[in-house]
Symmetry: C2
Subunit: 471 residues, 2 copies
């Protein structure tokens, strides 16, 4: 562990001169507290920063980092604070660099088909602005309405459209970052290809703020798809639902935009919370929500007829087609509000985030059921079936105290994550390691971990950049 | 520079015991010579290995590497030898590890939609095997008929389908590699997502054998597209051709599979070599070759009618549609045989490989024209217009001697590459750095280079793994 330096009043004055008074928060406990945690279990996992800075540009960030590096003061970069692994919790106090002021969409380049944005842009704001130009940004984490693009890149966020478009990293053409020594370096840019040396850009994607702070991001844009259709497909059992995922992809002959999975208990709680009723909600063991995009209604019809037949022939209880916005919204609301619904019934519900090869979904679901029985704890599951990325969410039984539950729920999620790794998966599919899954990472990627760590030590020898995360 | 160790007769005996006699080539000068160069300028750039080994599995490679690391003997991994940057030339002698025996397609997994292959599989063999199952592997370097998958991954090879599908790295879900210390480690696998720590897999992609030897590669598969249509579109000028690329993408509303660029001189030489005549070949300053994929003829028709109209309205001399294999083949032959055609007329022609943002293509083409005049040298250009990846190929004038030409052509390509970097591009788009572009890399990515180098030193402290490449 690094022996961190202290933030003196002299340093605070320097930051005030650099950023202006309003961009420097300190001493005000209530104001600081807003930057002490993220969406990963609120009060469970929080730590107060000594100082919050709100820089406006990369030059300011570079200056801050240079000072912090010299004085060995820990820096925690923070986007929207919507992370689910504790990545933006300032574990060792020090400085939180909040990127909310760097929220400019710098350019939507219709010739090169690239958007250039600052890290603090809300993902959905970008999606909308891009759509206005007739183009499309395909990044779509479930937190799209709140999360920042910078955070999406820092965790290599996924979402429901990964099967067709890849996760956030697939869209990143370039990153400008401030490295732990304060250097501002751009990796990649508007060019669409680059075989000139190691791909450092992809090393930064998913590095969760441990290698530097992103200050500019270049994102790939594509033509806007014309229309989409959503299918809601109940199955009697999980196995029937899941065994259909890959036949679905092959049969439909085009990649679906999404194949989402949501289990019986999630449906029950979700429909209660959303105050809607879904067909077959009592009988169905699991639902798939499937989305296709196409140029026109005709194309979509031919797809969903082909797919629908295939599904009905292999165990679907029915196939509900939503080809207008209202019906689509009804289907997606339950999936998108899934975590909110669970939190409504249990504020202490944590979210797992395992990934396995698609074919192993039935095995991991079975394992979760066993764990559920063993601990006598309900564990609803939703997730991205097409990518094998599932979110099991153990719900606190009434008779267990909150401190006990923290221990038990962590144990449950750890056992599921380790099982996922044993099945050829990994302990995080899209949320990242943060500090919550550090031990799991070490356990399941021991050899790989050593290489990651050596890169971290190399680039951030003073360990000032988001210390305590990933490693 | 590392002080490399010598290969003793004792070491050779050890390798014979390990691999069997037939897998160990030494002393036989003629046999060794086959492993002394790649497609980057033959005799210009060659160096004899002391020893060629042909291992059969990762365990054997691990043993070889452990011995080499202990004795500090340089290792040069080699695939098909089809590289264009000298990446598989054994610059310091030592051992060439030839991967031609590791050519098994281990699995085509139709449930997880993943192909697992050894590095020595010829790319086209994989494409065909995958197609037989109703699926599709979207990697398609122009050398698809000869190059190995391992080499594609090592250079992050591009090709003509990058605009729609991304370059080779986009398809790689996992890599098993033998690292310079002999450890066999798998990064990624059949899972489609992973936010668990740094993305080392992407660091290996494009590392040109300097960080380890790939022994197993996991590739993403997708549904096979139904049909395709090819358009041949002559334009009076380069500017007219290029200014159409992004409108083309936006207008067609779907991503084309390819938008290839080929200039007047290339067409003239190509049609002579292929003994065919292309429409407008005297008047046209440049051609675009455009490909779309779709589920059926109708879908394709609606695309090419829309696109065709847009092109005719913005300067195309005509739009020729090939929707059957014979006509398609006629169009593509000139593009695919481009380099062979040039080599037929000038065996000393080197191939540049610059990448720029698409909008900068006219600027770089103009610059190449200036250079062409300044040196009084013909420089035909072909390339992947949609990605801004161009291959200028200076042709030796009769009156310049071969040694002089080596110096002059290198100077010409260097100046073009540096100009590309100044325009927001890079010195290699898809061929890699090898040893031919080392200086260019250092010049154009100075800050990034330091980080790359520190990673190299960290993972390969004895500098045994493809020394002299990239760095």
């Amino acid at each position: 562990m690094t022996d961190f330096g202290k933030i003196t009043s002299g340093i605070i004055e320097e930051f005030k001169r650099l950023l202006g008074n309003s961009a420097v928060i300190y001493e005000d406990k209530q104001a600081l507290e807003n930057y002490s945690s993220d969406e990963a279990g609120g009060k469970y996992y929080s730590h107060m920063p000594d100082l919050v800075l709100k820089p406006n540009n990369s030059k300011q960030i570079s200056e801050i980092v240079k000072i912090a590096n010299k004085e060995r003061i820990p820096i925690t970069p923070r986007g929207a604070g919507s992370g689910l692994a504790g990545g933006s919790v300032p574990l060792y106090g020090g400085i939180v660099i909040c990127l909310e002021r760097m929220n400019r969409i710098l350019e939507i380049d219709k010739t090169d088909l690239v958007a250039v944005v600052e890290p603090g842009v809300v993902t959905n704001d970008l999606c909308r602005k891009v759509a206005d130009t007739g183009l499309y940004y395909a990044g779509y984490p479930m937190s799209v309405e709140t999360s920042f693009v910078g955070g999406n890149v820092a965790t290599n966020a996924g979402g429901s459209k990964v099967i067709k478009y890849g996760n956030t990293g697939h869209h990143v053409l370039g990153i400008e970052a401030v490295l732990p020594n304060g250097e501002i370096i751009q990796f990649g840019g508007k060019r669409r290809k680059d075989s000139s040396g190691y791909d450092i850009k992809h090393l930064l994607v998913g590095s969760e703020g441990t290698l530097g702070i992103f200050t500019k991001i270049f994102l790939n844009l594509i033509p806007r798809p014309g229309k989409n259709v959503d299918l809601l497909v109940p199955f009697r059992s999980v196995d029937e639902a899941i065994s259909n995922v890959s036949t679905l992809i092959i049969e439909s002959k085009v990649l679906p935009t999404a194949i989402e999975y949501i289990d019986h208990l999630s449906i029950i709680l979700g429909s209660k919370y959303n105050n809607i009723e879904l067909p077959f909600q009592e009988e169905a063991g699991a639902y798939l929500i499937i989305q296709y995009e196409g140029q026109d209604k005709k194309e979509l019809e031919s797809i969903y007829e082909r797919v629908g037949d295939a599904l009905l022939n292999s165990g679907a209880l029915d196939v509900f087609v939503a080809d207008n916005r209202t019906n689509s919204e009804k289907i997606w609301r339950v999936r998108r509000n899934w975590l909110e619904a669970l939190k409504f019934f249990d504020p202490y519900v944590p979210t797992g985030d395992v990934v396995i090869p698609t074919s192993k979904i039935p095995q991991i679901v079975r394992f979760v059921k066993e764990i559920s029985k063993e601990y006598n704890v309900d564990i609803p599951i939703a997730g991205h079936a097409a990518d094998g990325n599932l979110h099991p969410a153990p719900m606190k039984p009434q008779n267990i105290s909150i401190p006990e539950w923290k221990v038990i729920s962590e144990e449950i999620l750890s056992r599921i994550a380790i099982k996922a790794a044993e099945l050829g998966g990994a302990v995080s599919g899209e949320h990242g390691i943060g500090f919550i899954k550090k031990e799991l990472l070490r356990k399941t990627k021991n050899l790989q971990y050593k290489i990651m760590k050596s890169i971290k030590v190399n680039i951030d020898p003073n360990n000032i950049m988001n210390p305590g995360k990933i490693f």
